[in-house]
Subunit: 236 residues, 4 copies
């Protein structure tokens, strides 16, 4: 199996996982992965039913969006994915869903505050929300402008520390080191949105989790002092 076939298999699995996890309804979602050495991106084909999809159906484009080979047409959101791959060096996979609770925050143009350790374990600080695209941006290269909008929002933020965003009036995008990590981050984004919605229902004016607890949990799983998992020795 060539590297490209392996990447198609990985992207296929990531897209079917989105369905299994209940993150997508119908065809509302897509996952992609990049092979930076060859400058190729593999992504879900546009408007194809998940049930009838096979690994070989995954579309291939270069980082400028040129379709490679004679496969199915790539997702109409491909230009958004490409902008993220071009701007965020460390990422290997991107996922877009309309998962319900994250989309509720996106529709309300409201960031998801860090209200607990579930959030702090995976996202550094709030999950940011973009501005709305201008009329000119929408009339232009809409999907590409959506990618630029996300990149603009991440000026001064680390996309690897905060691996997801809410596009105002639209829905979430998430990413990670590879396609499976992007899927996991989009699942976590949906769960922390659900938790935040219920927490705000109990106390609309609640503040963020104390900074020192946010930092502790983030570092417990990430960075040089991480000790979660089978890698390192915990302090106690």
């Amino acid at each position: 199996m060539t590297d490209l076939d392996a990447l198609k298999e990985e992207v296929f699995r990531a897209n079917t996982e989105l369905v299994r996890l209940g993150l997508v309804t119908g065809t509302w979602g897509n996952a992609s992965a990049v092979d930076r050495s060859r400058g190729l991106v593999v992504i879900k084909p546009s408007g194809v039913d998940y049930a009838s999809m096979a690994p070989g159906d995954m579309a291939v484009v270069d980082l400028d969006g040129r379709e490679i080979g004679t496969g199915l047409r790539p997702s109409s959101d491909t230009p958004t994915h490409l902008e993220l791959y071009r701007a965020f060096d460390g990422i290997g996979g991107v996922v877009h869903t309309h998962s319900p609770h994250a989309t509720m925050f996106a529709q309300a143009s409201r960031e998801i505050p860090c209200l607990g350790t579930t959030h702090a374990d995976h996202f550094k600080g709030p999950v940011p929300v973009t501005r709305f695209l201008s009329e000119a941006e929408v009339r232009g290269e809409y999907e590409r402008e959506t990618g630029r909008l996300i990149v603009e929002r991440f000026r001064g933020l680390d996309p690897l520390a905060t691996p997801g965003v809410l596009v105002a009036g639209h829905a979430p995008f998430a990413w990670g080191a590879h396609a499976a990590a992007a899927v996991e981050n989009s699942l976590v984004l949906e769960r922390v949105a659900q938790l935040a919605l219920g927490t705000l229902g109990l106390d609309a004016g609640i503040g963020a989790l104390p900074e020192y607890i946010q930092e502790k949990h983030y570092r417990r799983k990430h960075g040089p002092d991480a000790y979660y998992g089978q890698g390192k020795i915990p302090p106690s």
Copy 2:
């Protein structure tokens, strides 16, 4: 298999799909399709359990509601379906459910505002809500008046651009080019209702998605410039 048998098979599949998608509880729902060339409508039989239903059980009526053949009695909502087929030329299938979130808006006599692109991709503008039927209308041909009520609400609206409605104090109806499209639109209607309920919980005073984004998303999937799916080439 005759055309009528094929239509019965299609309507049977549409009704069972409503159960699989979690859009109906018990027998609270029905799907139908029309064969305009022969003036026949095939619809779920009345009060029959989905589990025990077979394609041959689908009821057949003409567009005036006369039962054809010796099958089971048609759904008591049949006169509503017939009004829609008579008034909305372009539609080939109709679905009625009591799906929870759409029914919550119907019970609140509240239209579903277009708060995001999930909505804009499928419904042009808000999902409208009807007035309540008058006592005279209810005491008359109730189910037929319900159909007339929907048609009245759609004066000045395009039923193909906005393929669904909320009947005040009752529940949603959705339609499409054929039975399967009507099922998909009733699923989308339920999902956008769920998203709107959560969004309004975060910001009760939120306004609609900017008009130019609504228009962009609707056109991305519909009309001459559509480029979603495997048909056309995207701009970027």
Copy 3:
């Protein structure tokens, strides 16, 4: 198979159906049925896991609560069921669950108003809520007093037209002509509670569905003019 074996089979199926429908968690629920000709009630055994239950495990008591045979002990809620069988002549089955949305209304000591046709199709008027039991009643024959409390609440109401109740601070009870009908009514009660909760979230001050629509929908399925199902001919 004797009549009693048949009734045990029916009650067993009703109890397992409660699990399949997601109306019970753990052992929080019970279904029973009465054989009025012999004055016997068959009911779920107390605190037994649904997964390990067999038809033969169903407990049998007479209408005074005396255990018949050497089977498992009846549900601790049996005295409540018996009060209902003694007071409501027309009922053949009783179901108790802690289904989430109905229990939320019970915990809030709030009746479920009739806000739509889903409710009106199955329950005449609001689903009533009882008062709290007094300390003396609780210290006495608690489960029996719970049954008397429900009967007290139904003075002036028709238990067959409104086949369910919310016990304040506790949970719902539902009943019907037989065990399966009681199960269906407890499912409907949960669904209308879910719909009402969401509707009140959209409009806390909403009024009941117009009386003439409530009456129409109730009569469409019940009483001499019923035309829902395969029995009668619809007006149109």
Copy 4:
């Protein structure tokens, strides 16, 4: 099979049960059990996928946290479990989840009031919430301090009568006589949180269930006068 193998099997089953019951997402949860005669605790390994776990993968530590044998590393939450085993003599199993509704209350730093008999049947009084850990405690032995925080909160409370707690800004912990009982208590904790959230949505100012009803239900299932289940004879 040695006692230790049996305990590993029990802890493995408890951890997989958490997934089956929908109480954990990804690896966000862990169950443990103690063998007090030998001073050993068996617990889920850290950051291991539930799907690929086997009984032999369960980690073993002594009550001071020293890893026994050459198995996988114990959960990073192990020091919290150990504090609970050391302080609460009667408990044999501990479970930690981020179950959604219980976590919403934890994130809101809000105890779960006893609003109904579902709660009263399993938890005596409200489910308590801890304070936030101080910065010094977080910078120290964080997981161990979390255990001490819970023990501090239970001064004057009976951990067997109230077998669970909400850690502020984090999530719930529950416990019981053995691992399976701890799993059941964490399921009940999630359900009563869900019920309380909906009840508070209907009446934000609602008070607790009358004390005499709380006491009756708790005693019906617990203590010398218990008559729920197959053990004792009910009063009526």
